[in-house]
């Protein structure tokens, strides 16, 4: 005998707190999920746990001291963060950066992009449930890049190597050989990841069709980086408003049209191959020369003015809005965080998905909370 229920089975929504201390949130990020069984109905993100007031502190320090705060803002891609900052100072102070310094800068930011994406690959594998091997592989290759950075700058994470005008000092004499060595390891690492993840059954089943966002929505939310390119928008500052020497090398903007978590992974994987290509071309064209302009004042001062400099960091557009009223320190410094804008779309991408998938969507944005909170 079949008893038919007179009315729909009703469940009560549950408020589930995730974070701020939880491995899945990649830092101190908290979100309150309203869940109906396994399905996410609403997400309220809470950020600010890592807010240190870097912008205010930069207003009290001279231009060179501010570089250290940029490292600590975007600590997984410190070279990219430094680049935006020094370019902003250079634009106001009208400094001409020598060619050699520009090529070296380009090598460093692309290597940093590789190390940052490697970090993503490892951590994201764990989010998805492919535990162990990818994480260790990612760490191995990332270590090679960090070792190289340590040889150049003396520090593994907080490099403070770029200076307004050029570089702190020239790279070691074996720099090119060491870079090529590192690239060989990284190229192997990318191939390994391709083999381990791209066609991995668990990985594909868990990421394909999850966390979709359309191109129009991604633009409206102000997303950038691989997160927007995975939705089919070829938005890449390196291509649209070339800086450094990006116009002189051959590379492609990687886009995908699916707009899901898997597409965001594929975008990053493709970008790593492009970064290797860029670094190789830079190494071929690196020539001896000056690394700082000939006439550099001991104390850097800028005339009154303002500039908004944007560069393509691994997570998207890293912008620095610098206002000067004369003198040797910023009047106002605003860091445009790529992750902050990307994170705004989290709710849009996660509502209607399962709880476990919401974690993957968060992982696919690749957030760095210290950049979000500044």
């Amino acid at each position: 005998m079949v008893i038919e229920s007179a009315h729909e089975f009703e469940t009560q929504d549950l408020l589930l707190n995730v974070g701020p201390q939880h491995p899945s949130t990649h830092g101190v990020f908290r979100m309150v999920m309203q869940v109906d069984g396994e399905v996410v109905r609403d997400i309220i993100p809470y950020i600010g746990y890592l807010h240190r007031g870097a912008e205010k502190l930069c207003e009290t320090m001279d231009y060179r001291q501010g570089i250290g705060f940029m490292d600590r803002t975007e600590y997984l891609a410190a070279m990219n963060a430094e680049l935006s900052y020094v370019m902003a100072v250079e634009a106001l102070a009208e400094l001409e950066v020598p060619d050699r310094a520009q090529w070296i800068r380009m090598i460093l930011v692309e290597l940093n992009r590789l190390s940052s994406h490697l970090m993503f690959m490892g951590a994201f594998g764990i989010d998805v449930g492919v535990f162990g091997t990818p994480f260790i592989y990612a760490w191995r290759e990332r270590e090679a890049i960090i070792d190289l950075f340590e040889e150049i700058s003396g520090d593994r994470m907080m490099y403070a190597y770029l200076r307004p005008g050029g570089l702190a000092w020239d790279v070691p004499t074996n720099f090119v050989a060491r870079c090529r060595e590192t690239l060989t390891a990284v190229r192997q690492g990318i191939a390994d990841f391709d083999g381990l993840l791209t066609k991995n059954e668990i990985f594909v089943a868990r990421t394909q069709g999850i966390g979709f966002i359309s191109a129009a929505d991604a633009i409206d939310f102000g997303m950038s980086g691989p997160s927007i390119r995975a939705s089919g928008v070829p938005l890449d500052v390196r291509r649209e408003e070339p800086y450094l020497k990006y116009n002189d090398v051959k590379w492609d903007v990687i886009t995908h049209t699916d707009g899901d978590v898997y597409a965001r992974y594929l975008c990053r994987l493709g970008e790593m191959r492009e970064s290797v290509k860029i670094v190789e071309q830079c190494l071929d064209r690196l020539e001896p020369g000056a690394i700082m302009p000939e006439k550099m004042p001991r104390m850097l001062r800028t005339p009154p003015g303002e500039v908004y400099i944007r560069t393509e960091a691994p997570r998207g557009e890293f912008g620095v809005y610098l206002v000067s009223k004369g003198g040797n320190r910023p009047y106002r410094l605003k860091v445009r965080s790529a992750c902050l804008s990307n994170l705004q779309a989290l709710k849009h991408m996660s509502v209607g998905q399962y709880v476990a998938d919401a974690i993957i969507v968060l992982g696919s944005i690749d957030i760095v909370l210290s950049e979000v909170d500044r």
């Binding site: 600010g48 908004y308 994170l343």
Partner: protein
């Protein structure tokens, strides 16, 4: 601040002459009926718009068929002390690939401006941050909570120039639970 220079206007002497070849002509056409002025920045053209007209202006810039500013890069504010607070919008067009900086200057006595969240959803968190840091109130904001600051810290604005750079103990006073004898 130690700068000896006076904070005189950086506006060029003859704006129309220096704005040749920029998108100002297009912007001026799109902003017909709004008293906007422009100056040339280091990279982008800076357009000054009266705060009361900001939403109308931004909507017109987004809707215009040739300008199509569909992407809000950044939204922030600058505290110019007695000269009020500038709310600064950095716009970009993903199709036409050009930039524009829009500024609205709020007098210190009236820090209200309409929200841009209906134009770009990107403005949501950026306006919340600007509100808590500068005390600018965005009329009609759908979610006017604090973003980075603690929920109860809504009466002091850290990025204003008059806000002291001090130890958290001094700012929070007795709230930290330290008494004079403990130290």
């Amino acid at each position: 601040m130690t700068s000896e220079e006076t904070t005189e206007s950086t506006e060029a002497a003859a704006p129309t002459a220096t704005l040749d070849g920029t998108i100002w002509a297009e912007v001026d056409r799109a902003l017909s009926g709004i008293t906007a002025s422009a100056e040339r920045g280091v990279l982008d053209v800076i357009v000054h718009v009266p705060p009361a007209e900001i939403v109308r202006a931004l909507k017109a810039l987004k809707a215009d068929a040739t300008l199509k500013f569909d992407y809000l890069r950044s939204l922030t504010a600058v505290d110019n002390e007695a000269d009020g607070i500038d709310v600064v919008y950095h716009l970009y067009s993903t199709t036409a690939r050009h930039n524009l900086t829009v500024k609205a200057t709020l007098p210190p006595t009236n820090l209200f401006i309409d929200t841009a969240t209906s134009i770009w959803r990107a403005a949501d968190w950026l306006e919340r941050e600007t509100a808590e840091m500068f005390g600018v109130r965005f009329n009609g904001h759908p979610d006017p909570r604090t973003l980075l600051m603690p929920e109860d810290m809504d009466d002091t604005f850290p990025l204003r120039k008059d806000h002291p750079l001090a130890e958290i103990e001094i700012l929070q006073g007795e709230g930290m639970g330290y008494s004079e004898e403990d130290q």
